[in-house]
């Protein structure tokens, strides 16, 4: 009788642990939303208290992956900014699964969007006129003043902090 009780208790615990694991997994695996260009334009043009940082990247882009910890660090430590990592993977591959897997593997905390737009020539200028279309590319916007900074290269340590300071100073 006692043994049976123990068994029931044990399996109950195991079941509970399993449930917890499933719940926590679904919580930590951040879902990336698939968006149209308008969502990014809204982010850039809507006044907010935070400096908006929009990084264009893709899972295949080595320099993008290298600089990603800089954005993750900002998300974790700087509440004055809001980071959005916009994946343009769909431009080359219609399956977003690679992006989802990347987010889980790297345990990304920043918001990730997957851009779903065709004909890049029609939308690249709407983000930034000086952008050639090469990635990585990062746009920083002070939505209060309308001031912007745009960088089309892999960022280094301290670059983001410097750009944020420049946007804050005016």
């Amino acid at each position: 009788m006692e043994k049976e009780m123990q068994f029931i208790l044990k399996s109950g615990k195991m079941f509970g642990a399993l449930m917890l694991m499933i719940v926590s997994l679904s919580v930590t695996a951040q879902q990336a939303e698939t968006v149209k260009l308008g969502r990014i334009q809204d982010k850039i043009n809507t006044a907010s208290n935070k400096i908006q940082i929009i990084n264009f990247w893709a899972t295949w882009c080595a320099p993008c992956v290298k600089e990603m910890p800089l954005f993750e660090n900002l998300t974790a430590t700087n509440s004055d900014v809001e980071v959005t990592l916009v994946s343009i993977d769909l431009d080359l591959d219609p399956d977003p699964e690679k992006v989802y897997r990347f987010i889980s593997r790297k345990k990304l905390k920043s918001t990730v969007w997957i851009l779903d737009e065709k004909d890049p020539n029609s939308w690249i200028d709407k983000i930034e006129k000086s952008w050639s279309g090469a990635i990585p590319a990062t746009l920083l916007v002070n939505t209060q003043t309308g001031q912007r900074k745009f960088v089309e290269r892999q960022l280094g340590e301290g670059d983001l902090e410097r750009l944020i300071d420049e946007l804050k100073s005016k």
């Binding site: 431009d91 890049p120 020539n121 050639s132 990635i135």
Partner: protein
Amino acid sequence: MKTLSWIGSILCGILLMAAAPVNEGYEIGDIVKDFRLKNYDGKMVSMADYKDAKGFIVIFDCNTCPYSKAYNSRIFGLNKKYASKGFPVITINPNDPTISKGDSYDEIVKQAKNKNYNFPYLVDETQEVSHAFGATNTPHVFIVQRTSGGLKVAYIGAIDDNSRNADAVTKRYVEDAVDALLDGKEVPQVKTKAIGCTIKWKNS
């Protein structure tokens, strides 16, 4: 002392200008300086070598970029269609192989031989030509037309409007441009943009 610091700041300015990639590069209508770069077969290639060409489809391209891979067969298609009409394709690999190992000269040779390149695949070791053109990404197309004044830039940009799927392309920018030049008409769209891999510049 004051003049020294003046000279210093001017020198700094010149250095900064040389390092800044923003304002460099050819614009539409500019006359291009010919290059002389090493091909995958070891021979040097210049545009002047092509006595009968009416112009060139110059494409900055590489081995490693997924966009380059996606467009490789389309680049073969362009050469097949236009070399005989007087606009051959010339591809140039701009990437620094210390950053992108898959773009070393050995890998360029391998790629060209494996894929049976029937057009030049040149290496821009110093990156001077890529800087002069103002190439930013791969693949990046510059169509130049031979005129009495020299080789004139007629188009800068993407090959077409759909990297993902060649069958779903609706705008063939490069084909439309070359067709227009062959017909003696205005190029309908002289500049376009596309997503691409950034060129791996040497660390200065």
